[in-house]
């Protein structure tokens, strides 16, 4: 695992709740709001299971700690998107809270329904970008959520030991988290 320079993190006293909201204007039309909210909620829940942070969706985009939206091309943050595939999304280190998906991608929440050959799994990318929002940089471990690439029609949503160790070094462990359960899951996956 790796961190951004200076190891920035959300520094409020734990346990703490970080709020997130979706941009009402910068969205996509072919997925429902409920579908998008459901997969992003699952992505936040995975991280919350391993650290003593909670995440709560709110309506007020302006006051949310984490601001999520779908943007196309040059959208004013100095990191323009590049159209279909290439760069899929990006997020900024703590405590910026910006999490942007490239609106040009064909985002999928269910590959059984979405048939596009270039469809990208929204939940996988959301899980990865939340890692950045929390302070993790890219990992060299290919199986880790924080590895930088993801192929179309691939799904990778489970945190690996590398991800968990990295984020727990920043925030500590969720008291309900069981490392042995994760290790058993990792072993089972590898087999």
């Amino acid at each position: 695992y790796a961190y951004f320079s200076g190891q920035p993190r959300w520094v409020r006293k734990t346990p703490v709740t970080l709020t997130y909201a979706f941009s009402p204007e910068n969205t996509i039309s072919y997925l429902t709001t409920e579908e998008i909210r459901a997969v992003v909620d699952r992505a936040f829940t995975r991280w919350a299971a391993v650290i003593p942070l909670r995440f709560s969706e709110i309506e007020d985009y302006v006051s949310a700690d984490i601001k999520i939206g779908f943007y196309g091309g040059d959208h004013g943050d100095g990191e323009p998107f590049d159209g279909v595939l290439g760069v899929l999304a990006h997020a900024f280190s703590p405590t910026s809270g910006k999490l942007h998906f490239d609106a040009a991608e064909r985002w999928a929440v269910d590959f059984g329904v979405e048939r596009s050959k270039v469809a990208v799994d929204l939940e996988s990318v959301a899980t990865h970008e939340i890692g950045h929002v929390l302070g993790l940089a890219h990992s060299s471990v290919k199986e880790a959520i924080m590895y930088p690439s993801l192929s179309p029609r691939n799904k990778k949503v489970e945190l690996k030991l590398d991800d968990v160790k990295g984020v727990q070094a920043l925030y500590g462990s969720n008291p309900n988290f069981s490392l042995s359960a994760l290790l058993a899951s990792d072993t089972s996956t590898n087999q």
Partner: protein, 118 residues
């Protein structure tokens, strides 16, 4: 290499990567380039390496020559992403470059941690 006793099929299966054939076509010319190579368009590849933190800003005036600095960048890229470290633009490296990815830089702003065995 064809195994003994194996009859080649009459048809050939062509492996294509969905949605990235144009990119493959463009990148194929760089295959197995190494230090000293000069390939038209390599400056664009250098911009990719710069974009993700492997070439410093001072090298922004990129040329099409595979120079020593670019070799160092390729080695760092291969090392960072768990690829075989060859210093060349081999097929593993070009495949990785083609893969859709996160826009956050890999290096230049990060503190890397490595597990150590004691």
């Amino acid at each position: 290499r064809i195994a003994p006793g194996f009859t080649p099929p009459e048809s050939i299966t062509v492996l294509t990567v969905n949605g990235t054939n144009d990119t493959w076509h463009n990148l194929a010319r760089f295959l197995d380039s190494s230090k000293g190579s000069h390939v038209s368009g390599m400056s664009e590849l250098k911009k990719y390496f710069h974009r993700f933190g492997y070439l410093p800003v001072s090298d922004i005036d990129f040329t099409d020559t595979f120079d020593a600095r670019f070799e160092s960048a390729v080695i760092e890229y291969q090392s960072k992403l768990g690829l075989p470290v060859t210093g060349k633009l081999d097929s593993n490296t070009l495949s990785q470059i083609m893969s859709p990815r996160c826009g956050v830089r890999d290096t230049g702003h990060v503190t890397q941690f490595h597990a150590t065995r004691r």
